[in-house]
Symmetry: C2
Subunit: 209 residues, 2 copies
């Protein structure tokens, strides 16, 4: 949703053997890949190496992840955030609902999940191509956010006000990933986003229609 909060999914407990095996393979590939990336660097790690470590063929790697970048970029958190926002009481103002929803998802992460999340962020910071793809995913997520916001406001999802609010959220959130300087996004940062939004009002005030 913001450019963070993404990690490996836990394979669902029950399902056909086929499904479970696929989920396990996918998780394994991602795990060993992240391991190799953080130890040798992203560029220095070849798909062949990943495949070998995961004990699959390179062909299989590409069946699970269309590109090498997808191993890092893909995640399953966005739906959780949407749901969390939807779960906020109706009397809560939209802006608060969004902030609280995002925050809650982050707060529920286990220590282990935070760990892989930090490694992901580290990769985004050091590998420009990954950041680019991550931003693309983020922009796509704005669509979803627009959806929930519109729902809450009781307007159609095409409403410009809803779109603009979603855009502002994401735009402001992105500024908390400072260039270069290693700052790991954590749930505390939502307070900062909140304050930033409040500060925004000062500058928007003078705008006359």
């Amino acid at each position: 949703m913001t450019s963070d909060a993404r990690a490996a999914a836990v394979p669902p407990a029950a399902a056909g053997l086929r499904e479970r095996k696929k989920a396990k393979t996918r998780a394994t590939i991602r795990a060993v890949a992240m391991q190799l990336f953080t130890s040798q660097g992203y560029a220095a790690t070849t798909v062949e190496q990943i495949a070998e470590s995961a004990e699959v063929s390179p062909s299989t790697f590409f069946r699970y992840f269309p590109t090498k970048e997808d191993v890092v970029v893909t995640d399953d958190y966005d739906p959780l955030i949407i749901e969390a926002i939807r779960a906020q009481p109706p009397e809560t103002p939209v802006a608060d609902a969004v902030l609280l929803g995002m925050r809650q998802v982050f707060e529920r992460l286990t220590e282990q999940e935070w760990d892989s999340e930090r490694r992901r962020q580290e990769l985004f910071r050091s590998v420009p191509e990954l950041l680019a793809r991550q931003l693309q995913a983020t922009v796509a997520a704005v669509e979803m956010l627009t959806g929930v916001i519109a729902e809450r406001l009781g307007v159609p999802p095409t409403d410009f006000g809803a779109r603009a609010l979603a855009g502002a959220f994401v735009g402001v959130s992105l500024t908390f990933l400072p260039p270069g300087r290693p700052h790991h996004f954590d749930s505390h940062d939502f307070d900062n986003v909140r304050e930033a939004l409040i500060g925004l009002r000062t500058h928007l005030e003078p705008l006359q229609p």
Copy 2:
């Protein structure tokens, strides 16, 4: 600055012969590349083809553009926008100064420049990898925008308020590139961005510190 307003630069009139030749080569490569992209498609056009059409070797192509993507993504407009914002009278409120500055640069484009700009936008819409890289460039531009805003506000460029405002601008602007639907960004859209920002105030109002 937003994800638009980028095109080929006009080679400066005077300079050493070397400089002029380089500028001409660069412009030629970009021109023939854009031509091929729009006629055959981006993926279907190989660097070898571009090099041949531009009458240079593939090696030379990569000396001018580090990647095939850079042919489309690179531009020289950001400095113009920054300058235009700076040129706004000091009594103009920041938000207005930014909007007016951006708008002016767009208004000064020639019909020819608009044409290539539209082709660029078309490529961003149809080629995901290009959009990703473009977004990366956009985020980088937020830094510059933060700089001017901070300047105007008389605060250090690290100020969170300045960063947040810059982020909000870009975030809101991005929402005017609707997914899929072919809408070409033009200078008129700045009125919409302006209205969207005004609408934002309603939702930010209820936020309590």
